[in-house]
């Protein structure tokens, strides 16, 4: 009997050691330096098993899987069934599935789809996510609220800027001191970097804004001239003389200065193939380059202002956001999902992983000075200019797709008149906005008083 008792005691000790170690390991990686509270020891769903369907964009699958597994290790009764798809597939499938009540319990969200998906979403539970705590931990809290409800939280800030090829920069005799401070500096550097073939055609563009850059560049340069994207009503696109000036400047860069050519491939491809020395694109491009052209050494700077002075805003910013909750989940599922989301949002390491994966600057305040963020040329530079980046809100995709269609395609490729195209483009954007409830957030920008809204 004594022997049996001793054996049982030994077994209990071994088991307690094992479970003790395992409990420690589930906490591994979870760091919370913020105010949003998460209780690692709380049981969820009364210990009853539950599987949550989670749809994610393929680029984020690894990150989400890692943290879902960590959550399952903490709460073994909760498992996740992760389905991934490309950006287009993911959001098109959601668009069909959510209204038909066949969507997942939670999914990776993009704020551009807020207007479309809103009717099918459930807000985060305010009891789990007190706004005052979130405001203390994060930026972009109030910008993520709709009628006072939070449907997601911005986790990473994206912006745009100029990527330059360091090797070409050096070969053209340019140094770090030549990083442009004005539009004229930028044009001069672009001219210097341009290479021509024997027939005088552009072989290597000094600057490339083809296909997926010009539309965003117009917005940034217009901000730098002090003009907002939308008029005071927050819905009518502001197309004014500043906009015309920007389009003329960009056209001049290609047509008169011959520092670029529409005949080269689209901006990101050309830059990655070293047939363009500079391009203007979203900060996400840093991650894209690491994955697709790791041999090309690049530098990054924010689009310079027209005259070297601090402008009303340097550029636009946007946020990559936390997962959203399907409006059709049951109360029990809702409670577990909120617990999981609280686990993610309170966890510094998840937010850092997410931001680095998305190639954006983390919105969690404690992470802005993070060495990994600061060491990265793109993220570090963007973080330094954060105060002068403007968040216009979740304007519809059609805004920039129309800018591309009318100013890159019609003006640059088809040589149409700028004034006529501005009129046609504005009409089409207004028409496409009819189906949305979007209202610009530009009025909330801390330096909004420096902007023109008409």
């Amino acid at each position: 009997m004594k022997k049996l008792f001793a054996c049982m005691l030994a077994l209990l000790m071994v088991m307690s050691m094992f479970f003790g170690a395992s409990a420690e390991s589930t906490r591994e990686g979870y760091v919370n330096t913020g105010k949003l509270h998460y209780d690692l020891n709380k049981e969820v769903n009364n210990g009853e098993p539950m599987t949550l369907e989670f749809w994610v964009q393929v680029e984020l699958e690894e990150t989400y899987r890692k943290w879902c597994d960590a959550y399952t290790a903490l709460h073994p009764n909760i498992t996740f069934n992760i389905t991934s798809g490309s950006y287009d597939d993911h959001f098109m499938k959601l668009g069909m599935a959510l209204p038909n009540k066949t969507g997942p319990h939670l999914f990776h969200m993009h704020n551009g789809f807020t207007d479309q998906f809103m009717a099918n979403l459930k807000p985060y539970d305010p009891a789990v996510f007190p706004l005052e705590d979130l405001r203390e931990d994060y930026t972009f809290v109030d910008e993520s609220l709709y009628s006072g409800n939070m449907y997601y939280q911005g986790l990473a800030v994206m912006s745009c800027g100029v990527f330059y090829n360091k090797k070409m920069w050096a070969e053209a005799g340019l140094t770090e001191n030549d990083i442009p401070k004005t539009w004229d500096d930028l044009a001069a550097a672009a001219v210097k970097l341009t290479q021509y073939d024997e027939n005088g055609k552009v072989k290597v563009a000094g600057f490339n804004y083809n296909e997926m850059s010009m539309e965003y560049l117009i917005t940034a340069m217009k901000y730098e001239l002090g003009s907002a994207m939308f008029e005071k009503d927050g819905r009518t696109p502001l197309f004014n003389d500043d906009m015309k000036k920007v389009i003329e400047w960009l056209k001049d860069l290609y047509v008169e200065k011959k520092a670029g050519s529409v005949e080269l491939p689209m901006s990101i491809l050309s830059f990655s193939q070293s047939t363009s020395a500079m391009t203007y694109i979203g900060t996400w491009f840093g991650g894209w380059m690491q994955a697709n052209a790791p041999d090309v050494e690049y530098g990054f700077f924010i689009m310079p202002s027209p005259d070297g002075n601090v402008p009303a805003a340097y550029d636009r910013s946007n946020i990559e956001v936390s997962p959203a909750i399907n409006g059709n989940v049951t109360d029990a599922e809702y409670a577990v999902i909120n617990d999981f989301l609280c686990y993610l949002l309170s966890n510094d390491n998840f937010v850092l992983d997410f931001a680095l994966k998305q190639y954006g600057t983390p919105t969690k305040k404690c992470l802005i000075e993070n060495p990994d963020v600061q060491a990265d040329e793109v993220l570090g530079t963007t973080a330094r200019f954060m105060d002068r980046l403007i968040y216009p809100g979740n304007y519809p995709d059609s805004y920039h797709s129309n800018l591309k269609k009318y100013f890159y395609d019609e003006v640059m490729l088809n040589g149409k008149d700028i004034d006529e195209m501005m009129k046609a483009c504005k009409e089409e954007i207004i028409d496409s906005m009819e189906s949305t409830e979007f209202v610009s957030e530009e009025g909330r920008y801390p330096h909004a008083d420096e902007l023109k809204f008409e």
């Binding site: 098109m92 207007d115 009717a119 050519s261 005949e263 047939t275 519809p396 019609e410 490729l413 189906s435």
Partner: protein, 305 residues
């Protein structure tokens, strides 16, 4: 004799289980068509009179507003014109080239299977893959087409980024990809033509061209009609290559009806307006198909009379 008649009657009478099987088979087909064709078409037709945004759960009656809007905008006319040009050019190109290659290969004594296979490969290759390769070939600065043009002393072209060339570039790719189908259909038709006709023609001193003109071509009439009709219906709905190669551009230079429809539905979330476009396209296809069938039947009737 009586016994035989009885047996004949019995053989025509179906057993209970056979009748049940027939009812099930017919019902399955009816249900299939109702669920996958009639219901979606009816729903889309209804939707064309509504402000319909499924993701926002909006479905409110607007009468003819969607039709008024699309007829008001110049995009409909542009897309319709592009679609008709695309359909006519590709249909004719595919049919004529298909007939030409079929006649050429059919006349060969050796290597028929090899050439038939080579010409058929593009048909079974994914449109997505083919579009991406052709897009690269059309690249003005690095693409091989401009390189070969320069070797021939021809000035480089802008192809897909030139609004006057973009549509023709997509049509050329489509004809290249689809000719093999028409060719195989024609070759199948040619095997059905009795060799004795050619022997008789040869004895009468017919040239190859005369044999083709007066024997082969007339006897392939049914095949030609089939290819023309199916091509017309298919190319009126062209989308994939436009989306992948030009995105309807530059500007709207290569907008087709289905691309326009897609943009309205998935770009602007206006399924009501997209449905209205779909029904305008449906009406056009219906009118042309009926006309084509009428002409064919009239000719048939004249022939038999």
């Amino acid at each position: 004799m009586q016994h035989q008649l009885k047996a004949g009657k019995n053989s025509r009478r179906l057993s209970q289980s056979q009748r049940i099987m027939i009812v099930i088979a017919v019902m399955a087909l009816v249900v299939f068509y109702a669920v996958f064709f009639i219901f979606p078409i009816g729903y889309a037709l209804t939707g064309s009179f509504f402000n319909w945004m499924p993701t926002k759960r909006v479905f409110s009656f607007v009468g003819l507003e969607n039709y008024r809007k699309i007829f008001e905008q110049s995009t409909l006319g542009l897309a319709m014109g592009n679609t008709l040009v695309f359909t006519v050019v590709v249909t004719l190109g595919r049919t004529l080239l298909g007939l030409f290659f079929a006649a050429l290969i059919y006349s060969m004594r050796r290597g028929r299977v090899l050439f038939r296979t080579i010409y058929f490969i593009p048909v079974i290759t994914s449109t997505v893959a083919v579009s991406m390769v052709w897009k690269w070939m059309y690249e003005p600065s690095n693409g091989p087409l401009n390189y070969y043009l320069s070797l021939a002393g021809i000035a480089p072209q802008r192809f897909l980024i030139d609004s006057s060339q973009a549509m023709w570039c997509v049509m050329a790719m489509t004809i290249w990809k689809e000719t093999g189908y028409a060719m195989v259909m024609y070759m199948a038709g040619m095997t059905g033509i009795p060799g004795t006709l050619y022997e008789a023609a040869e004895m009468d001193g017919c040239t190859h061209w005369q044999a083709f003109r007066y024997i082969t071509f007339p006897l392939l009439k049914t095949t030609t009609e089939f290819i023309l009709l199916t091509s017309f219906v298919t190319y009126c709905q062209t989308f994939t290559q436009i989306d992948l190669m030009t995105k309807g551009g530059p500007g709207k230079a290569s907008y087709t009806m289905v691309y326009y429809l897609y943009q309205e539905a998935f770009g602007n979330n206006r399924f009501g307006r997209a449905s209205a476009i779909a029904f305008v396209l449906f009406a056009v296809i219906l009118v042309f198909s009926v006309l084509q069938l009428r002409i064919t039947r009239t000719k048939e009737a004249e022939k038999h009379a």
